[in-house]
């Protein structure tokens, strides 16, 4: 009975993954189609990858998009980490909840509204729409995600660690750098990757604030789709999919490195305790 249940569960899991991945593989498959459209596979070609390599405008946009994602995620991580600490160490439950709710409101409010309000905000301030305006808005909408990733780690932390550090004469800065940040590192890394992916695939907010020769991949693909998506876009999506797979694997190794080291030190201290006994 149990075995059968397990098999059914596996089948269900398998179906879910098939449903999730099929469209992506469909798209990848047709990026090699010599026929020029997605209606039928007529032969294998790398023509679209070649066309992609020659499309300097599109490649420039890819570079800009990644630059934007890396940079905005970095800034958002720095600000968000300190923001999480600020929220966590705010005195009074009520104040803390108010701050946290203000953070969460930004998480749940629709991108379109955030984008439109940024557009109005930038034009009122006279900031012209270019890389800077997109960067600022991406940092802004990434911060709440980082806060939410870091906060749980802070909650897990034993408060007596800080008391102990203070007893041993640590200054506030030392407490942050030597105690808190090392402890919440996994949260920070997770926050960075979340902010990175949010920035990479955001369309709605970016759509409003791009301009003056600066555009991101999502906006560009959307504009091109009017004429029917060319297989060049399929080729590009394939490369991006490979890239995100590398990203996931990289993230796995980084987080794996963290835990194994922790385990090692844990084992070591256990060994030492046994030795002294």
């Amino acid at each position: 009975m149990n075995k059968r249940k397990g098999r059914l569960a596996n089948l269900y899991l398998f179906m879910v993954f098939v449903l999730l991945y099929l469209p992506i593989f469909y798209l990848i498959f047709y990026s090699f189609n010599a026929g020029g459209n997605m209606n039928g596979f007529t032969g294998f070609t790398l023509e679209y990858y070649q066309a992609l390599a020659e499309d300097t405008r599109l490649l420039g946009i890819v570079v800009d998009t990644f630059l934007l994602a890396f940079l905005s995620a970095l800034l958002a991580t720095v600000i968000g980490t300190f923001g999480a600490m600020m929220i966590f160490y705010t005195r009074g439950r009520k104040n803390r909840n108010v701050l946290l709710s203000m953070n969460n409101i930004l998480m749940v409010s629709p991108d379109v509204i955030i984008g439109a309000s940024f557009l109005i905000f930038f034009t009122v301030l006279g900031i012209s729409l270019n890389f800077l305006s997109v960067l600022l808005s991406h940092v802004a909408f990434s911060i709440p995600i980082v806060v939410l990733m870091v906060l749980p780690r802070l909650k897990e932390m034993n408060p007596s660690l800080i008391d102990a550090a203070r007893d041993l004469g640590a200054t506030n800065w030392q407490i942050i750098y030597k105690v808190i940040i090392p402890f919440v590192t996994p949260g920070i890394i997770a926050g960075y990757f979340m902010a990175f992916t949010y920035s990479l695939d955001d369309f709605a907010v970016t759509f409003f604030v791009t301009g003056n020769g600066f555009s991101t991949l999502a906006v560009e693909i959307y504009s091109r789709a009017r004429q029917g998506i060319s297989l060049e876009i399929n080729a590009l999506s394939t490369l991006l999919f490979l890239f995100s797979m590398i990203l996931v694997i990289g993230y796995y190794f980084i987080s794996q490195g963290n835990t194994s080291k922790k385990q090692k030190s844990l084992n070591k201290s256990r060994q030492e305790a046994i030795d002294t006994l």
Binding site: N37, N39, T56, R57, L59, G60, V63, D64, F66, L67, F70, L71, A73, L74, L119, I120, F122, T123, I127, S128, L129, S133, Y177, K178, I181, P182, T185, I188, I189, Y192, G211, N212, G213, S215, E220, Y222, S223, R224, A225, R226, Q227, G228, S230, I254, G257, N258
Partner: protein, 357 residues
């Protein structure tokens, strides 16, 4: 902590590399200061070779940006914060932009080659005397059919859409002006009619159509017709030319009793920072060789009559896209009906869409 440091140093290194690459790509394309011309156009709506040629001929560097709808373009320019030197809206949007004073009147002393444009496409209602705009491409609304399923002889007029044999096989374009316009046209009336009696009559006529309608869709028509999911559709000539390229059984007909003619015109918005460059580009596009090359690439109908002489005969003699005069004379531009009648048109269309079979 060390982990985090390594990660962040790595990320900063990546950022630096990307930044330098991005800079280099930009300077290698020659974008420096005030020689940049920013063109805001529909996606894939110019032959990229022409942009290269323009850059070589004039020394300007083109920054090409794209939009997907007139409304998106309008909002972007109206909000400010952009520096577009040229844009190419459709005729109704030009009217709206004129009303909002977003356009710069053209200085005809700086424009060479305007005489190349066919006079039939100049001085139209939406922009009298072409004070603000110059035609870029034009096209029509018509019927596309698949000769595998229907006999072309039977699909020549709007009235044919009501024929019994087309039961459940017509796709309509999802637009109030288009659908009500074709009902008005089918009775020989103007598609800009503001006569309540005629509109009511059109609504009654439309009420008989739903049995034949398979779907009311927009851009998807292209895909469905190429894949032969429907035998007849109402669509624009620009879309039709692309469908014809992909499926040889398709044919496009402009009903001779009248239909819509649309224009995409070049305008200079007030956000321009390089007005000389904008004029240089307009002049460049008016050169017959360039207009012909562009028309061959895009597949829409060019208004440049000198360019038509340079196009292959099979394109020029194709009545599907370059209809004879007697058809053109029956074509009308959508006029701005005013808020009240736009509301009435939308109501009729909504009622039509909600019709139950």
């Amino acid at each position: 902590m060390r982990n985090l440091k390594v990660l962040f140093v790595g990320i900063i290194a990546i950022i630096c590399v990307l930044f330098v690459t991005s800079r280099q790509m930009r300077t290698s394309q020659g974008h420096t200061g005030d020689n940049t011309l920013t063109i805001y156009n529909w996606g894939d709506y110019i032959d990229p070779e022409l942009i290269k040629k323009f850059e070589q001929e004039t020394g300007y560097k083109v920054s090409y940006e794209t939009f997907d709808s007139n409304e998106a373009m309008f909002t972007k320019i109206q909000q400010g914060g952009t520096a577009y030197d040229l844009t190419i809206p459709s005729e109704y949007m030009i009217q709206k932009m004129m009303a909002e004073e977003m356009l710069i009147p053209l200085d005809y002393t700086k424009i060479k080659g305007i005489e190349n444009i066919d006079s039939r496409f100049m001085d139209l209602d939406f922009d009298p005397e072409n004070k603000y705009s110059i035609p870029y491409f034009w096209g029509t609304l018509g019927i596309i059919y698949n000769d595998k399923f229907v006999d072309g002889e039977n699909i020549q007029h709007w009235d044919d859409l009501w024929k019994e044999e087309l039961r459940d096989s017509v796709m309509l374009f999802d637009g109030a002006r288009e659908v009500i316009g074709l009902a008005l046209n089918s009775d020989g009336e103007s598609l800009n009619s503001k006569d309540d009696e005629l509109l009511a009559q059109a609504a009654r006529k439309l009420a008989k159509l739903p049995d034949n309608v398979k779907a009311i869709v927009a851009d998807e028509i292209k895909m469905y017709m190429i894949n032969e999911e429907a035998s007849v559709a109402v669509t624009f000539s620009g879309e039709a030319s692309e469908m014809l390229d992909n499926n040889e059984h398709l044919h496009y007909v402009i009903p001779s009793e009248g239909s819509n003619v649309w224009f995409d015109n070049i305008v200079i918005p007030k956000t321009t920072r390089n007005i000389d460059g904008a004029y240089a580009f307009i002049n460049f596009l008016l050169v017959p060789e360039n207009a012909a090359q562009n028309a061959e690439y895009i597949g829409y109908s060019t208004p440049n009559k000198e360019a038509m002489g340079l196009l292959p005969e099979e394109i020029i003699e194709d009545e599907q896209f370059y209809p004879p005069d007697e058809v053109i004379n029956h074509l009308e531009v959508y006029e701005d009906l005013g808020v009240e009648y736009i509301g009435i048109y939308n109501d009729i269309f909504l009622e039509f869409k909600m019709h139950r079979r």
